[in-house]
């Protein structure tokens, strides 16, 4: 079968340029000719130096950055949606039930308790609050966030704790695609190992993942395939 038949993500010739109108309209080419696919149960790691456009590609796959041209094919509830041309409502539906994004930083809502921040993606998808919180608790426990912190909003937590809350929130969902932007950046060895385990579990469940990881050791542990982003350098 061709990759397009089974892939969860199928990107073809995607291109992104920023036009900076406040700087005299200069054009900043970011990437062009981006083409790769990701199958279920596979983790593709994007490699390349800082500024090569790794995060931009992740944001294009999430529909956060718009593409100038090309196609971002996402398998969403059995059909393929092209996020490069999708309506806002469609993008939101894809995010709700297909693509999760674990960013480097937690964009926390003030006043919401950590346990609810983590449980929210399940509640949005219809799970009962008590069950969602129980699953959130399990994940927080695995990621070594002590129970006494669960009822507090994460805004006051350390950088590493916030990142682990963010990871719990990202991994709790049962979405078939996960995008990981430096998920282990500010974690200690023990917590990095937990993240590696979580990624392995997601693979066994058939989740397709695209990750940016600078740590070589982690990259070797999670990558099934490496896509070199420098080959998409904009001309």
């Amino acid at each position: 079968m061709s990759p397009a038949m089974t892939a969860m993500i199928d990107i073809a010739d995607a291109r992104k340029t920023f036009t900076m109108h406040l700087q005299g309209g200069i054009e900043l080419p970011v990437v062009s000719g981006v083409s790769f696919h990701v199958n279920p149960g596979e983790c593709v790691v994007l490699s390349g130096p800082s500024g090569a456009g790794k995060s931009s590609i992740l944001k294009m796959i999430f529909g956060n950055y718009r593409c100038d041209s090309g196609r971002i094919g996402i398998r969403h509830r059995g059909a393929v949606v092209d996020l490069a041309t999708a309506e806002p409502r469609q993008v939101l539906n894809v995010r709700r039930s297909t693509i999760g994004y674990v960013s480097q930083f937690l964009r926390a809502v003030p006043r919401v308790a950590t346990i609810d921040v983590v449980a929210e993606p399940l509640i949005v998808n219809g799970l009962a609050r008590a069950e969602a919180q129980a699953r959130a608790g399990e994940l927080l426990h695995r990621l070594n966030i002590p129970e006494r912190l669960w009822q507090l909003p994460p805004a006051t937590f350390s950088g590493g704790e916030q990142q682990r809350v963010n990871i719990a929130r990202g991994f709790i969902s049962e979405l078939p695609i996960l995008l990981l932007d430096e998920p282990t950046a500010s974690l200690d060895a023990a917590n990095r190992a937990v993240v590696v385990e979580l990624v392995a579990e997601k693979k066994r469940q058939g989740v397709a993942m695209v990750a940016i990881v600078h740590d070589d050791e982690i990259r070797h542990l999670i990558a099934d395939r490496i896509v070199d982003v420098t080959s998409f350098a904009a001309a």
Binding site: F18, T19, M20, H21, L22, K59, G63, N64, Y65, R66, P88, R89, V91, L92, N93, R96, S97, V109, P110, R111, V112, V124, N125, G126
Partner: protein, 265 residues
């Protein structure tokens, strides 16, 4: 899941077609078209004079457009042109299916009657007549907007700005509207009070599956509350899209200027 299918297949709640408003030779609003779906939060952003308030007034039936039309899917499922509604139907919409949160709570509340009466009044307007039930429902709503029940018999003129705004929200939501218009709802409030109000609005909107059209000049408010934004300038919509797309990847020179003018947190 059932509610997803609903989200994906449902018809729009409100549709604006080529809305325009001119005052003599001055065009305050030109050729605005969009559809709003149930549960969707749309932010209209732009600076003073961009036409966003004129647009909100036309959408909420308070101002007659010079051109174009607004249609709304009524509770019976039939979509109607607002201009063809009779007075009784229009009043019914305002009292039940729509809410309108003003920037100045004094415009949306009766400042001299009790908080409980402010909330209860809207229920009485739709035919509730059992005093005990009205008072229970009013108390319930005061609690939901985090107003101490001990203050139920006090008039809002004795309330702080933040409390007044929360009371105005309770008064609007008590009839379970499907669409709420908000005009700079955090405009006159201190920053800390703003954060609390936004947080409250955000959770109520999600819980009640409300559609909201919110006018704001504050992009942080748009980011926190809305799914989609329309950027207005000189009476026109110059850019529109998913909120995070428009704010993280703005295309138009004016939108880039607005985004770059936000002070870092």
């Amino acid at each position: 899941m059932a509610d997803h299918d609903m989200l994906e297949n449902v018809e729009p709640l409100l549709v604006a077609k080529s809305l325009s408003k001119s005052y003599g030779r001055i065009a305050a609003c030109r050729d605005v078209s969009f559809s709003l779906y149930p549960g969707e939060v749309l932010a209209i952003v732009g600076e003073s004079g961009s036409g966003k308030s004129t647009l909100l007034q036309m959408l909420s039936g308070q101002l007659t457009p010079s051109g174009g039309e607004v249609s709304y899917r009524m509770r019976d499922g039939i979509t109607r042109d607002l201009a063809t509604l009779g007075e009784a139907e229009r009043r019914f919409l305002y009292r039940t299916d729509w809410g309108y949160v003003h920037q100045d709570p004094a415009q949306g509340l009766r400042m001299a009657v009790s908080a409980g009466a402010n909330v209860g009044e809207r229920l009485m307007a739709v035919g509730w007549n059992h005093y005990g039930r009205i008072r229970d429902t009013a108390s319930d709503w005061l609690t939901r907007v985090e107003i101490d029940i001990a203050r139920i018999d006090d008039a809002p003129r004795t309330y702080s700005g933040g409390m007044r705004q929360r009371l105005q929200i309770a008064r609007n939501l008590v009839t379970e509207p499907r669409l709420v218009f908000m005009d700079e709802p955090t405009g006159g409030l201190d920053v800390s009070v703003q954060a609390r109000l936004l947080d409250l609005v955000r959770s109520l909107v999600a819980e009640l599956h409300l559609a909201v059209i919110i006018v704001t000049h504050d992009l942080a408010v748009a980011r926190l509350l809305s799914h989609r934004v329309m950027v207005m300038k000189g009476g026109r919509v110059i850019e529109t899209g998913l909120t995070d797309q428009v704010l993280d990847d703005p295309r138009e020179p004016y939108t880039q200027l607005l985004v770059s003018s936000i002070l870092p947190p």
